[in-house]
């Protein structure tokens, strides 16, 4: 085909696309966000000064210095540093959540493609979905003891249904015509499944992964509060029993930092897979 333009009139009328960066940081937004944090810290400091009781509410500085100290100092004495406890919790999260995501996406993929499997699993998911995973803690301790297995199982039971539902919904939402388009462009059924059906569902699946991550944190902290000798939940519980409020708050802050890191990574992944979100 020659290179002269058939659509010249059309091209003249419609302005050429200019790609805009929508990810530009708005400085106003950042400034006000920081201001909000600052005000919270000030109110906290004020209340702490008025209460004058470090067990009920330690000052901002004492909390910050506790946080800093325990990053290198072991708690309890023969235990791990705050950083190491955080790593233990993070590892549990990643193992349980990672396995849950793989299982959930696989099961969801099969359910979205094979009707019989969907009929088979739908009621099971409907029954388990409304249950808070925490209700299973005693059962899992009876079954699996207090090692890593019950913690893994607990995260799994929270993550898998969320991922199945997200995957099935995402795959169901892929327009048939999009798959048909790829097939009539010469894609084999398998190639089309891979590069269109799954690809099209990917951003929504990643959103499901973010939701599941939130649930996984709830589960792991809860089970660490009750049955663990390491992890941030254990630190928080143990420090609370010993009235070391600054360390309790430090543990909470550590969870927040890890949560933001993990969610940030997933948000980046989402942005990378969905051009419309950029």
């Amino acid at each position: 085909m020659s290179t002269d333009t058939l659509a010249a009139p059309v091209a003249e009328r419609l302005t050429p696309a200019v790609r805009r960066r929508r990810g530009d940081i708005s400085w106003r937004r950042v400034a006000f966000g920081l201001l909000g944090l600052l005000i919270t810290a000030l109110v906290w400091e004020l209340v702490a000064a008025l209460k004058h009781d470090p067990v009920i509410l330690p000052s901002v500085q004492s909390t910050a210095s506790t946080f800093w100290d325990y990053l290198s100092q072991k708690y309890p004495a023969q235990g791990k540093t705050l950083g190491q406890h955080a790593l233990v919790s993070a590892a549990r999260i990643l193992a349980g959540w990672g396995a849950g995501v793989v299982i959930g996406v696989a099961l969801g993929g099969v359910m979205a493609s094979v009707r019989i499997v969907r009929y088979l699993l739908d009621p099971l998911i409907e029954i388990t979905r409304p249950l808070p995973p925490l209700a299973f803690i005693p059962l899992f301790i009876v079954w699996f003891g207090i090692g890593e297995t019950p913690k893994f199982a607990l995260i799994l039971i929270g993550v898998v249904p969320v991922m199945i539902i997200a995957t099935v919904a995402a795959l169901d939402a892929v327009p048939t015509e999009l798959v048909q388009a790829s097939r009539s462009l010469g894609a084999s059924a398998f190639w089309s499944l891979l590069t269109v059906r799954l690809r099209s569902a990917l951003p929504s699946i990643i959103t499901g992964m973010r939701l599941a991550m939130g649930g996984a944190w709830t589960s792991i902290v809860a089970v660490e509060l009750i049955a663990a000798t390491s992890g941030l939940g254990y630190v928080i519980n143990n420090a609370g029993v010993n009235l070391q409020t600054p360390l309790v708050i430090s543990g909470i802050l550590a969870i927040s930092v890890l949560g933001i890191l993990f969610d940030g990574a997933l948000r980046l992944l989402h942005r990378a897979t969905d051009p419309t979100a950029r």
Partner: protein, 264 residues
């Protein structure tokens, strides 16, 4: 793609006695007969418009030609061979452009060659040429959501044409466009067809569009869908929007409309 010499003597499309029934909602309710004993022949290089009321089976017919669905009876042949599943020899343009939103314009155009593992330097050059032809050179790195409605349609065109289809199947492709863009796209399509001489089966609701574009207009009635009339359009080519103001055009439109109203 190599074409055998005798290929051109065969009709591009042959639909013989096609029947298509959709299952009813429940086991007891009767199935819905969308098409029954439908015949249609389209010559090589012909521009055929399928016109008919909503629900008369136009999309069903096109889906069978594309290979998305199978007929329950009768035969659907393209270039003399029965249709067996979708393929790049039959380019499909839907009512909405159905671009892949995660690929750039160029990525969309190159999807076909990539899927068939034929992504050569030649295919790449061809894709760039086609983007030039459809006036999207500047938008080749843009994503579909950054394009206007008309630009998306032209990108979909390029994505199909890069596979050198012998047949274009278009299901109300301009139905969702505003009047101005629609006229521009019709002009674009006519010029493209004049140049490439691909066979086109074009589904539309619009009498004027059918008369302006087609060599023949197949007027259908439902249901089950059958041919009410096949009307030859003897207007001179090349046609443009001015053609619609001539007396012959108005007469032709009336003829088509009468065939449409003439159900039963």
């Amino acid at each position: 793609m190599t074409t055998m010499p005798q290929l051109d003597t065969r009709p591009a499309v042959e639909i013989v006695g096609v029947r298509k029934q959709f299952a009813g909602r429940s086991r007891r309710s009767p199935g819905r007969l969308a098409l029954d004993g439908f015949d249609l022949t389209v010559k090589q290089g012909e521009f055929l418009c399928l016109l008919g009321p909503s629900g008369c089976g136009k999309s069903t017919l096109l889906n069978m030609l594309a290979g998305f669905t199978q007929p329950d009876g009768g035969q659907v042949l393209t270039d003399g061979t029965p249709v067996d599943g979708p393929g790049p020899d039959r380019g499909v343009l839907f009512q909405t452009p159905m671009l892949f939103p995660w690929l750039t314009t160029l990525g969309n155009v190159l999807y076909g060659p990539r899927a068939r593992h034929e992504l050569s330097a030649d295919a790449r050059r061809r894709a760039l040429d086609l983007l030039e032809t459809v006036g999207l050179s500047d938008a080749r790195d843009a994503y579909p959501h950054e394009l206007s409605g008309g630009m998306r349609h032209r990108a979909a065109f390029a994505r199909v044409l890069v596979n050198k289809p012998r047949l274009l199947l278009m299901d109300e492709p301009f139905g969702a466009l505003d009047a101005i863009t629609r006229v521009a796209m019709q002009k674009f399509l006519l010029e493209l067809w004049q140049r490439e001489r691909i066979t086109i089966v074009f589904v539309t609701h619009d009498v004027e569009e059918a008369a302006l574009l087609g060599d023949r207009v197949c007027v259908m009635t439902g249901s089950p869908g059958r041919t009410q009339a096949v009307i030859d359009v003897d207007l001179p080519r090349p046609r443009s929007i001015e053609t619609t103001e001539t007396l012959e055009f108005v007469t032709l439109k009336r003829q088509i409309r009468e065939a449409l109203d003439n159900e039963h």
